[in-house]
């Protein structure tokens, strides 16, 4: 049985309560924040359990790695508190249920994980992926399960994630390049938080891209464009790899525009917010985010996560900004289509 | 029968009859008769019935199968996952009839002509290259390209006109081409479509042997039907040649300015032939050629590209079609549609389209208003003027 590893004392003795103070959606100062977090630690009711919008931010804010968001999620399920409606929650639980429909290529020790997203397989083309293209996994059997944090269903994670890890292990994978940011977060933050052993090395695809681009540095023609970076919620689970975004941009001649909602202050894409908190919150967040991009004179909006891309592509286009996934951006820089 | 397991899945919903946007009926035999049995859904249900002894072989059953032009509109617009097999199913059903010898007399004639003379026109084989007499076009020896002319191009009036204009244009463009002349035989595309798989295999094997013997590597075809069979079927029988339809080559020559175009003031529209368009997804080269001619005003017919209306001549029909040229025949409908664009010339790139549409102009009585020309003829005009 997997239980969340968090230390009560770390919360009790926390001086900054960054998790609550820095939260973008619930305004709380340190003292109230501490009180509410201790209620949660003790298993009591707290307004935070109702109001948290599942942006994953406090996983990053917590300076002590004590998993405040995972804790909120656990408590929610214990108390039967839903985020999205029951029907939508069940829909997502059903949608990603392993049904024996998956794809596995010719697996080598190094493999690409395309999670459950067909688009990621399509991205894995061209020079940057030529050695790895055929060594891939795709399907619910390899799904990262992280999305169930949004739906306050850690029980699903505890049930399915160990099997996913086992499936990958059985294929003999030693290094898994996670094409979905969320998968990387799953294996490096979520799984360990629950005491699940991960018997392979997860590699963030940003890091992989950066290495590959460095290898073909001679072929890079700087793009000389200004781009906003849309940081996905899942990036909060792997903030140690976030810097690769800027490194890649620098390498390929893209200026990451300085804007308000970036880095630690980044705004999520909003579509999950819509399911979890309603259209007003979602629209507000999306408007703030895109207004910010427009204000910073971004020509492009660069996506990391395909779901962010689906959420915002049309909306940024309407405001005169071109949407592009970072992999396509890298391909553009080396002259590939 | 091959594909037997699919036949009962047809829902006879009728998507197969329409263009993509549903604005009109696009199946030539259905247009003509207006009875559902003549559309793809009807054929599927009848083949299913025939397989299950709900109906017996009959003259009319054979007629219905053989009136299909193999234009491919049905497989383009069917909404079910088996759509790509529709024409294969019809072919297999025809093959069953061929085996039993129960095919319409006109089809029998067509096939017998090919067996006897290598062409369905009942003309002798040795007259095949006559169209090139008096021109500079040489017999193939070791030129870079074989210019494969085909049955219609060798014996049919409009076809011969086309062969001359295309042949001379390719030479003018600086290409090294040669023809087979009296050695040339039917390519077999329509023979296969008629279900005579045995004869097709024989023709293909003979052609492949000949091509290899004389060192053919690259083929330019006059007829999209030949292009289709050379690229899709011959490789399966060991005949791997590089093949182009002449419009693809001509488009390149025009783009590279190998053919000097001074201009031609004409209003032109274009007939996408089924075996270039829907069957092989080639829509742009002919348009590029036309649009490159100064002074030429190009307009599209309502039904174009993958929604093009078949001239009604495919599937051997331009020779075997028994129903004549009534006002509901697709070729006449097509001429009326071409007139709607305001065009004076209907450009074609297939000798069968040429014949069908040319006849239709006469039936419609609109010779003063519009004429049918192949694209090479138009380009010749653009060089001259």
């Amino acid at each position: 049985m997997y239980t969340l590893r968090f230390d009560e004392n770390l919360c009790a003795t926390c001086q900054t309560v960054d998790c609550r103070v820095k939260c973008q959606f619930i305004k709380m100062e340190r003292e109230t924040g501490h009180k509410e977090m201790m209620k949660i630690v003790r298993g009591e009711d707290s307004s935070v359990l109702q109001d948290c919008k599942t942006c994953y931010g406090c996983e990053e804010y917590c300076p002590r790695g004590n998993h405040p968001f995972y804790l909120i999620t656990e408590r929610r399920e214990e108390k039967g508190i839903l985020t999205a409606s029951r029907a939508i929650t069940n829909q997502w639980i059903n949608m990603c249920e392993p049904q024996g429909k998956y794809k596995v290529g010719e697996i080598k020790e190094k493999a690409l994980s395309c999670c459950f997203i067909g688009e990621l397989r399509r991205f894995a083309r061209g020079k940057l992926f030529e050695d790895l293209r055929s060594s891939y996994i795709l399907g619910p059997e390899f799904f990262c399960e992280v999305v169930y944090l949004h739906f306050a269903k850690p029980s699903i994670i505890k049930k399915r994630l160990p099997k996913v890890i086992e499936n990958i292990k059985q294929l003999g994978v030693k290094q898994l390049i996670c094409m979905h940011d969320e998968c990387y977060g799953s294996f490096t933050s979520l799984a360990p938080a629950y005491g699940m052993e991960v018997p392979f090395e997860p590699i963030h695809y940003f890091e992989y891209l950066f290495e590959k681009l460095t290898d073909v540095k001679g072929e890079i023609r700087p793009l000389k464009i200004r781009a906003a970076y849309q940081r996905p919620c899942s990036s909060r689970l792997s903030s140690d790899k976030h810097h690769f975004a800027e490194k890649i941009f620098d390498l390929i001649g893209v200026e990451m525009v300085k804007r308000e909602y970036q880095g630690e202050n980044a705004l999520c894409c909003g579509e999950v917010l819509r399911m979890v908190a309603g259209y007003e919150v979602a629209n507000e967040v999306q408007k703030k985010n895109i207004d910010d991009m427009v204000l910073s004179e971004a020509e492009y909006c660069v996506f990391n996560c395909p779901y962010c891309e689906m959420a915002l592509s049309e909306k940024v286009t309407k405001r005169g900004i071109k949407p592009i996934h970072i992999i396509d951006l890298c391909k553009m820089a080396i002259g590939e289509k | 029968m091959e594909h037997q397991e699919i036949v009962h899945r047809c829902f006879r919903c009728g998507y197969c009859k329409f263009t993509e946007d549903y604005h009109d009926i696009n199946c030539p035999p259905y247009l003509k008769f207006g009875l559902d049995t003549y559309a793809a859904g009807g054929r599927m249900w009848l083949i299913n019935a025939w397989l299950n002894h709900g109906i017996e072989t009959s003259k009319h059953y054979a007629e219905i199968l053989y009136l299909c032009n193999t234009c491919g509109n049905c497989k383009e617009h069917c909404v079910f996952t088996f759509k790509d097999d529709l024409l294969n199913i019809f072919e297999a059903a025809k093959a069953e009839l061929v085996e039993k010898g129960l095919i319409p007399p006109a089809v029998k004639d067509y096939l017998q002509g090919i067996v006897a003379n290598g062409n369905p026109y009942k003309e002798p084989q040795n007259k095949r290259g006559r169209w090139a007499e008096g021109t500079d076009i040489q017999t193939f020896s070791d030129q870079e390209f074989l210019f494969y002319v085909g049955d219609a191009g060798s014996y049919d009036e409009p076809g011969k006109k086309m062969a001359l204009s295309v042949g001379s244009l390719l030479s003018k463009g600086g290409l090294s081409i040669g023809i087979l002349g009296s050695k040339e035989k039917c390519d077999g595309n329509d023979v296969k479509a008629l279900g005579e798989t045995g004869l097709f295999a024989k023709l293909a094997e003979e052609n492949i042997r000949l091509f290899k013997e004389i060192g053919v590597k690259n083929i330019i075809t006059l007829d999209p039907h030949a292009f289709n069979v050379f690229t899709k079927e011959y490789p399966k029988l060991g005949g791997k040649f590089k093949a182009w339809h002449y419009t693809q080559v001509l488009a390149m020559l025009v783009k590279d300015k190998k053919i000097p175009l001074s201009g031609y003031n004409a209003k032109v529209t274009y007939q996408d032939p089924c075996y270039l368009g829907r069957h092989n997804d080639i829509y742009n080269p002919p348009r590029e050629i036309l649009k490159a001619i100064p002074g030429l005003v190009f307009s599209e017919m309502k039904r174009n590209r993958k929604n093009s209306l078949c001239c009604g001549g495919g599937g051997g029909n331009f020779m075997t079609d028994v129903s004549g040229l009534g006002k509901d025949s697709s070729s006449r409908i097509r001429i009326r549609e071409a007139l709607e664009t305001g065009a004076e010339i209907l450009a074609v790139v297939c000798p069968i389209c040429y014949k069908m549409l040319d006849d239709a102009v006469k039936e419609e009585g609109v010779e003063e208003k519009i004429k049918v020309q192949d694209i090479a003829e138009i380009v010749h005009q653009a060089i001259r003027s």
């Binding site: - | 919903c13 329409f18 079910f80």
Partner: protein, 465 residues
């Protein structure tokens, strides 16, 4: 019938429509004896495809003279056997009469022929009057406008304006005795703006009679404003008992184009849930977003209680829902790789949705058949069409029989719940008539007998004893 007589009739038909457009050959008889549904086949004696109302008139007069039945048909996609010639005779395939005769933009109506397809009208309006649309059903686009209104079909605008037959603006019919009659404003005016009012509404003599009272050769159909943008939302709940209230609140907003509630066991993403697909249209972003807001707000209570929520429709999924007609409805027929699909669509009060939904699931389990349930709202929640649909494999007679049984039990239950039949099979017609007010039945009988004294029009249907 004697061979000589048959030859005479054949010759007469050839003279009327031309040899190419008549057949008494086995192949046509086979095809026109059946439809893609479950009803048993019965061959006609002749099939004709006329081109003008005058040709139809001549055929009808011939039929009266020879006392031979007539069955008019469109595309035959009602699926309940209404175009199967139960007593043989002449099947009149209307689809050659497919022109669009007139569009009056300012009065918003179109006049089309008796065999004009839904697809043709849609394409014509798309090209020539992009600010107008009609209430198109999700059936394949080959289905005809005339047949759709004649069976009281529904379409994309039914939630706003009622049955598609409510949108008729005039008719031209060939009566069973051969006269051609104009019905509605067109009977005394050049304009086709009304199917009856304010004159005595004679359209009721021809709509819903399943071809037993005449042949529609022209139909005026109302057109409606078409906005530049169209979007879709899907509200999902796992509680079918909430659906009636959800639909009530949504219709109160008056913001919706169309609305359907549906459920099916597969694929797994739909399992256990009821979905309300709703469409909004607008000429501007402002209009569209305002309507979206109204719609979301109307269901706030359900969202707050977590009893339901709006689904995230991924961009790749949207085109399927925005397709008009929706091709996925047709492809449902091949789910069992058998090309078969039939449904019964009784009209009932929306409050019956929960019991009908539960019944459908029960039937699916009991008869081991793949089901799909769908309710289309009619007007402002005045009623719904509840579709009890099963897909079958045409090559599996046992499956077909189980589907028949399931449908029978389903429709019986629906009638027990106060529903009325839609495009009923002969059996469903009988069941309906058994439950009907005897004086109503008498009235139906009187009308039929007077309009069709020789009983030649689609005999076997609406057979009042």
């Amino acid at each position: 019938m004697g061979v000589d007589k048959m030859t005479d009739i054949y010759k007469s038909l050839v003279e009327i429509v031309g040899e190419e457009h008549v057949s008494n050959r086995k192949e046509e008889l086979y095809f026109y004896a059946r439809d893609p549904g479950l009803m048993p086949a019965h061959e006609p004696d002749y099939v004709v495809a006329p081109e003008t109302p005058e040709e139809i008139q001549e055929i009808v007069m011939l039929a009266n003279k020879e006392k031979i039945p007539i069955v008019p048909m469109g595309a035959g996609m009602a699926l309940t056997g209404l175009i199967i010639p139960l007593k043989g005779g002449i099947v009149i395939d209307m689809k050659r009469m497919r022109k669009i005769l007139e569009v009056n933009e300012k009065a918003r109506y179109a006049v089309v022929e008796g065999g004009t397809s839904q697809g043709a009208l849609k394409a014509y309006l798309d090209r020539n009057y992009p600010n107008l649309r009609h209430s198109i059903p999700d059936a394949p686009p080959t289905v005809t406008i005339a047949a759709n209104v004649a069976i009281h079909g529904q379409g994309r605008l039914t939630q706003q304006y009622g049955f598609n037959s409510d949108m008729v603006s005039g008719l031209e019919v060939v009566l069973p005795t051969g006269e051609i009659a104009k019905i509605g404003s067109c009977s005394m005016s050049p304009s086709w703006f009304s199917k009856g009012p304010t004159l005595p509404d004679l359209s009721g003599l021809f709509l819903g009679w399943l071809g037993t009272t005449g042949i529609i050769t022209k139909v005026g159909i109302k057109l409606y404003p078409r906005k530049k943008m169209r979007d879709v939302e899907i509200f999902v709940t796992d509680r079918e008992d909430l659906i009636p209230e959800i639909l009530f609140r949504l219709t109160h907003t008056e913001m919706l184009e169309d609305m359907t509630a549906w459920f099916q066991a597969k694929p797994i993403i739909f399992q256990g849930n009821h979905h309300v697909t709703l469409y909004i249209t607008g000429d501007t972003d402002e209009e569209l977003e305002f309507k979206r807001k109204m719609v979301w707000d109307s269901l706030k209570e359900f969202r707050d209680s977590k009893d339901g929520g709006f689904m995230w429709i991924l961009p790749a999924m949207k085109p399927t829902f925005l397709d008009m007609p929706q091709r996925s409805i047709t492809t449902f027929a091949d789910v069992k790789k058998g090309g078969g699909f039939e449904y019964s669509g009784p009209i009932a009060l929306i409050e019956k949705y929960p019991v009908l939904a539960r019944k459908l699931v029960e039937l699916g389990t009991k008869f081991k058949v793949a089901y799909s349930g769908m309710a289309r709202v009619i007007g402002r929640s005045h009623a719904m069409m509840f579709g009890i649909a099963f897909t079958f494999n045409r090559a599996d007679p046992d499956m077909m029989e189980r589907v028949r049984k399931a449908l029978h039990e389903g429709i019986t239950f629906a009638f027990d719940q106060g529903g009325i039949p839609w495009k009923p099979t002969v059996e469903e017609q009988k069941m309906a008539m058994e439950r009907m007010d005897p004086n109503t039945l008498k009235l139906m009988k009187m009308i039929k007998e007077n309009l069709d004294p020789n009983g030649i029009m689609n005999p076997g249907n609406w057979k009042v004893n």
